[in-house]
Amino acid sequence: MDLTPRHEVEAPDELRQKMHRRRRRTVLVVALILVAAMAFITAQGLRNATLFFRNADEAVEQRAELGDRRFRIQGRVIPSTVKSESGVTTFEIVHDCAVVSIRHSSDPPELFNSPWIPVVLEGSWLIGEVRNVVGSDTHYFASDRMLVKHTNEYASANEQRLTGEPPEGFLDQCLFEVPAATS
Amino acid sequence: MSEVTTVVTGWGITFIIVATYSMWVVSRGKIIGQELGIGEMEQADPGKDADATTDL
């Protein structure tokens, strides 16, 4: 049996070791970067992920302690309340029968126009008399950042039309009536 | 970005990633095979990579 190498792979011992050392250092640097990345991600995650948003009803409940702090609020947009005027969009969101009036001051994402879409808004409470579908409120939520929180429901655009009706059972427990969308 | 642009970009990037990775894996196999002196069989193979056999 022929045992001789078929080509030159003979590397002197020191050269091999040097190559190994260099490779080891590269891998260690990569590992260090990865560990740093993990630490950064975890820190970011702990800061933001644990309380990503408050639902509208919780935000109303915690209004006193929240004060003028920035936080995220989540609820479904009531279609008949959406009005847009000189860069400011006003509308109302509802979650668990708690209605919050919103004054949003940047361009909403495209999907915002879908009726009853759940949105996450970033901003804070401000004092101000507002009228809403329930009656009136002493505070409104001033927001400058909107994220559309789309759901995991998918339906063919060929078969279904958007009705403007709230999702099944969503307002069943509520003591107020929501006016139908005009458009 | 519009919906259509997003879809085209997403599918495009995905195909590029998968194709690049596939080619990297196959070529790495060929290179090491040749280094080891056991790649000749593949070069002589008229199957998949007929255009690679330039030295015949």
Partner: protein, 254 residues
Amino acid sequence: MTSTTRSNAKMTATPATRVLGVLAIAATALMAVLGLFISPADVIQGEAVRMLYLHVPSIWIAYGAFVLTSVSSILFLRARKRREDQGRHYDRLAGSAAEVGVVFTGITLITGMLWGKVTWGTYWQWDARLTTTILLFVTYLGYLALRRLPADPMVRSQRAAVMALISFINVPIVHYSVDWWRTLHQKASLSVGRRPEITGEMYWTLLYSTLAVTIVATWLMIHRYRVIRLEELRDEEALAALISSRLKNDDGSN
């Protein structure tokens, strides 16, 4: 070493994987036709819903690959002292599956960011699902780096196997993050015991895409496995050459 493994190692393509490769290309082409043209637009999301057929199958395949990595790592740790090949077969399987898993996690992240921009209105948010997914990506990158750290092959494989098992803890966390925490990310598209909230044509396109991506991933893993085998052969040969050159030197000096 048996003669069959030798002949397999000669090249990374065999008639079987060539058939699989052609099948993978055909399946992907059909997936593109179904996903991009045949399946309908969504009533809310419009055309953007077509990201679903890349994003969701990619992460399922990544989960599957990481399960394979973990199972193979356990089998390696059990077999390393018993089997004739010291369990190296399982180590190669773990390594190739992890790499394919990382590629598809990367695809999940990229397609997800693009999709997020058109639906949510942002590429990135540090919500629980997105945070745990990028952590998964980075952790398995670390696993792959560990596999490349020069060391005795068996020591290296043992370290990697332990790292693989630690890394896997995050997989169920990623999956259930949307139920455990409030996230911007939607709930799971399909889950056991829940009526799918997705219309028939989209549902079947999603399932078919998963099948197509599975074929592609299988082809990739088989080839990557064979390349790892070749890398091992190269290292063995280099070591053998080193030893023989040393022996020659010793002969000369004495």
